[in-house]
């Protein structure tokens, strides 16, 4: 069997110190295959968000190993993690998190700007990404002029514009009605199938998790069950 894209071995995370310390993760083992579509579920405080932060290289584990593409990345410094995010990861948030007063196109171009791409490469790649999410006609609009569903699609375009290995989505449909939610889930499924991008998604809703191929349940800082479904 091929090496998984991501492998967590005995990952723990402790916040605070002394009596006030809180053990958020108590030894998480998790393998994520390249091309998987994984839904992460669990009640509040179960450790799913902490795990996602570590997987997104926004946070580091207190102990344990985090292998990305076979490399240990658990002890990378702040800037190196930033470079890893820049190069391999894309983020979609519940609250969209687009820059205000900034057009859809400029929002999507932003990650390319930090990668130092020139103007024309940026424009072309950003337009291609917007086209993929079906918003090529809305490139010149600012977030305030877009609906919630459209804003989330812009955010997805921003996440995939760099062709990342992994797309991390933190409750991407949390702020949307069910019709928009289905559209977003179909878009993510489509991206996962056609581009082969690995999707990691935190969700509360079983309806949304149903789109995933693997569903991981967290409870009390540990992986409770891993449910693999037929594609």
């Amino acid at each position: 069997m091929a090496e998984p894209l991501i492998r967590l071995i005995g990952v723990t995370k402790r916040f605070g110190a002394g009596a006030a310390a809180f053990q958020a993760l108590k030894g998480v083992d998790l393998d994520i295959e390249a091309g998987d579509f994984m839904a992460v579920m669990g009640p509040s405080g179960s450790g799913k968000s902490t795990t996602m932060n570590i997987l997104g290289c926004l946070d580091v584990p207190s102990s344990g190993s985090f292998l990305f593409r076979g490399h240990h990345v658990e002890s990378l410094g702040r800037d190196q993690r930033a470079l890893l995010r820049r190069r391999y990861l894309g983020f979609v948030f519940q609250g969209f998190n687009l820059l205000a007063r900034t057009t859809a196109l400029e929002n999507v171009e932003l990650p390319l700007l930090y990668r130092g791409e020139d103007r024309w490469t940026r424009r072309e790649a950003a337009m291609a990404a917007l086209d993929k999410v079906g918003l090529a006609d809305w490139a010149k609009h600012t977030p305030a002029e877009l609906s919630g569903g459209q804003q989330q699609r812009v955010a997805i375009a921003r996440a995939i514009v760099t062709h990342p290995d992994v797309l991390l989505a933190d409750e991407p449909t949390g702020n949307l009605d069910s019709e928009r939610s289905i559209e977003i889930m179909e878009l993510l499924t489509d991206l996962n199938r056609t581009s082969g991008i690995t999707v990691l998604m935190v969700t509360h809703e079983p309806d949304m998790a149903a789109y995933a191929r693997t569903i991981v349940h967290f409870r009390d800082g540990l992986v409770e069950t891993i449910e693999r479904r037929a594609a």
């Binding site: 932060n53 997104g56 926004l58 946070d59 593409r69 490399h71 240990h72 990345v73 990378l76 702040r78 800037d79 190196q80 930033a82 470079l83 890893l84 995010r85 820049r86 190069r87 391999y88 990861l89 894309g90 983020f91 948030f93 998190n97 687009l98 820059l99 205000a100 007063r101 900034t102 400029e106 932003l110 990650p111 700007l113 930090y114 990668r115 130092g116 921003r158």
Partner: protein, 422 residues
Amino acid sequence: MTDLDLDLAPPPPRQASSMRLLGTTALLALRAIRRHILRSFLTVLGIVIGVFAVVTMVTLGKGATQSVHDQISSLGANILTVIPGQGNGRGGGGQAPPPFKYGDLAAIRDQVTGVTSVAPQAQASAAAVHNAANWSTTVNGTTNAYFDAQNWKLTDGRRFSDSEEEAGKSVCLLGSTVKANLYPHEQPVGTRLRLGSVDCEVIGVLDAKGQGGFGQDQDDTVVMPIKAVQRRFTGNQDIRAIIVSADPAYDSGDVQEAIAALLRERRNITGGKLDDFMIFDNKQIADTLSGITGVLTAIVSAVAGISLLVGGIGIMNIMLVSVTERTREIGIRLAIGAVAREVMLQFLVEAVVLSCLGGLIGLMLALFASIGLSKVIDVPFVFDPWTNLMAFFFSGLIGVVFGYFPARRAASLNPIDALRHE
């Protein structure tokens, strides 16, 4: 581990190219400024006012200093003015010091070395009337030596003839202010003019000299032979002042000392008695006055400089608020892969661009204001590139200094917390 880092890092040249990083952050900074135009304007207002105040004050101060210099040198260089009276005014108790006599004049001319010419002066006030026009002015009685000593040119006509000077004839030369008021459309030379009750012929017109060292209008005068003034106006033989022109080859201090010694002897001032006359050196007056203007300029500029400092603190204030307000934005940038240095540079560049922009606007306003104000207060406009360059450089420096702290704070934010920030 080294293998891994190379694998993960983007191609090194791009990362290493600080020019590219600067270009990127400059673009981001300009976008941020453009998107918050009102906030940007309020941020730079302090710098605008500070630079404006400093540059305007320094420019006007330099103009004033130059104006004082010009005025004093218009009085003529190496001119000593001798008048009766005490430097340390002894109240009203004592007798008025005696005026000078013609003999004093001749003695100075003949006995003091380094003296090129000596002119007496007697003064009276009179109303000058020509046709329907009426102008109250000062009548100066003197000799032709006066024009040489003052280096005063004529625009029309001639000086006194020897016989006019000797006989004290009623002839006069007009200062340009008097000419402008009495002869708005006519050439005065050859016409007649009534000065008080005296009828006199205009033989010449003097060139404009402008303000004197103490702000008086030197051109508001009518010059007549001294004997005419003494006979017709003052009614005595008194000489109110002696104007001595010194040879530039001699030290004016030595000449001054020699004149003082001579006059003490002629006026019987011996032992510890105080001089009952004063000698003014134009050069000394010029130095004193430009010294005063220079000090005033420095003080006012320092006060204006404080407003520049306050402007810098204003920038820091708003940048700090801006960092808090844009915490989420910073979180987004960090999440999508900005390194701390890039976030820091963006905020720093924003601060520097803002303060430089404020500096430029301030310089522009100062240029207009100093041109306008220099006309109003009647000093020459002196554009000093150094003042402007320094002010601009300083405003950029303020951006760096006061932008650094907020920028560092922005860069040190934790992306998870920043993204959660409401």
